[in-house]
Amino acid sequence: MKKNFVWYGVFFAIAIIYPHFVDPSWVDIGTTFALYSVVALSQDIVLGKAGMFDMGHATFFGIGAYTAAILNTTYNIPIMYTIPIAIALSALFGIIISWPIIHLRGDYLLVATIGFNIIFYQALQNNVFGLTGGPNGIFGIGTPVIFGINIASQKAIYYFAWFILLITMLIIYNIDKSKLGRAFHYLRESEVAAESFGVNKRFYKVLAFALGAGLASLAGVIFAVQYAAVSPQTFNFTQSVLFFTIVIVGGPSSIPGILLGTFVMFVVPQFFREFATARYFVFGIAMILTMILRPQGICPARFGKLPKYIFKES
């Protein structure tokens, strides 16, 4: 466990010095990496921990981005205030969306969540209620101001995104090491056994969606700030596939696995940018190779890390 903390220390130390050594386009990639990691970690609550095939997670990412964009540009609400609103709204959506489909198994749930993602995308495209700006999206989103400091520069937004990633990782770590995370894991491993020992299936499954949706939405707000704009394409079904694959390729329910997954699926293709869209070959090849060579993910979850006092002779 101590060794893990050293690794995380190194990881964040590199993240802190990184933007001073690369050109601006790579700073942007670093920011998006942090935000995509947050979304992937939030997807993992539903997919990796609770074992539900949610293939529409970009919906919640989008709800966050659009909530911030609409509230900020149309109603002039400062970005910082839009954050709690976006989280609450998305979590509420997660509850409403998942409630009627929560009993569906595996592939059935997957298809239903794709359906929600398509409806969401079409709603954005068609400028529902005249709020979403149609296919062009919304421009001119402001920047957050914290304690009088305006987070406006590219580097400031980068650090803000990484701070959000740190908070997310702490939350995920806490989930893993608690009754909450164990209940998710029990449900994934055997629903009948979990229920027979008092796990309220519906409550925990809906809660997984609510938490996942809330966290994805938080990332969405910062994503809207990073590009000062939002458009529907960023939140379509293909994006959901990306988040889904990050979890499966990286390692379900594993924080290092998901960070690695985001790196492989999002950052690595950027190295091949001169090949234009051909760079997505990497994306496809990584998916196929991992599933053949390491079907449990690059860095799968490890169980059995128990509190020390359990081993002490008494």
């Binding site: 806490n174 608690s178 009754k179 894991h185 055997s190 229920e195 020992f197 008092g198 169980f303 128990l306």
Partner: protein, 251 residues
């Protein structure tokens, strides 16, 4: 009366799995449920624990009507079980599996879990120590952090019982606990069941090992084709012509 089944009927698409079943279980007894394959024994267990909802009739536990309640609610009232085909959480460790039994006893809310309130720390420690106690009770200490899926069958059976005991139930339901165990393991199991009884827990078990059942159970209920054909103390059951016929066939 700890458990009471009144005229329970359960059908699956026209096939009657349990027909008008009545029986009662007194507190702190070891009760056996026997019958040929397909007699509906496991269906009875599933109706008691809420996995199935009876079509007709009622189930009372500790004076409370539990008919048709969800399994997680019935579990909280004090019924724990093991499964005929082991249902553990295979990729998790032994301790984490047994911790499942503590789920209903853990007092932390999901919010305590998320932000680690003082209540979270107290609750975790209290329940992990309980887990440790039950690991010790079943001599599983050497496997504490081992991943369950890779352990031998006999050990997995023990883990299932440990998980059930960890929930500190009033009634423990064992579905063929000796299946797949060797003689030595079966003897250990018999000793364990007596030990559990001494803890004040009532035990209801299905078992095919007739010798074990006759020596272990204080009271036996016999089923065939979804109906109760006999009940009584082992000595009477052994000489009951209907039971002999069900098991050996009529001449």
């Amino acid at each position: 009366m700890l458990l009471q089944l009144n005229n329970v009927l359960k059908t699956f698409g026209g096939i009657v799995a349990i027909n008008n079943l009545n029986f009662e279980i007194k507190e702190n007894q070891i009760v056996g449920l026997i019958g040929p394959n397909g007699a509906g024994k496991t269906t009875v267990f599933n109706c008691i624990t809420g996995i199935y909802k009876p079509d007709k009739g009622s189930v009372y536990f500790n004076g409370k009507d539990i008919t048709g309640l969800k399994p997680h609610i019935i579990s909280k009232l004090g019924i724990a079980r093991t499964f005929q085909n082991i249902r553990l959480f295979p990729s998790m460790s032994v301790a984490e599996n047994i911790m499942a039994g503590r789920h209903a006893k853990c007092r932390q809310t999901w919010f305590d879990s998320l932000i680690r309130t003082p209540k979270y720390f107290r609750d975790e420690k209290e329940n992990w120590l309980k887990v440790k106690y039950f690991i010790g009770l079943l001599n599983l200490s050497e496997y504490t952090s081992a991943i369950v899926g890779s352990l031998p069958y006999g050990i997995q059976r023990k883990i299932e019982i440990a998980r059930a005991l960890a929930s500190e139930p009033k009634l423990l339901i064992l579905d063929e606990p000796a299946a797949g165990l060797n003689n030595k393991e079966t003897q250990e199991l018999v000793d364990l069941i007596y030990q559990i009884k001494d803890m004040g827990i009532t035990i209801l078990l299905i078992e095919h090992d007739m010798d074990m059942m006759m020596s272990l159970a204080e009271y036996i209920i016999v089923m065939n084709f979804g109906e109760k054909i006999a009940e009584g103390i082992p000595k009477d059951i052994q000489s009951n012509p209907q039971v002999i016929e069900a098991y050996l066939g009529s001449e």
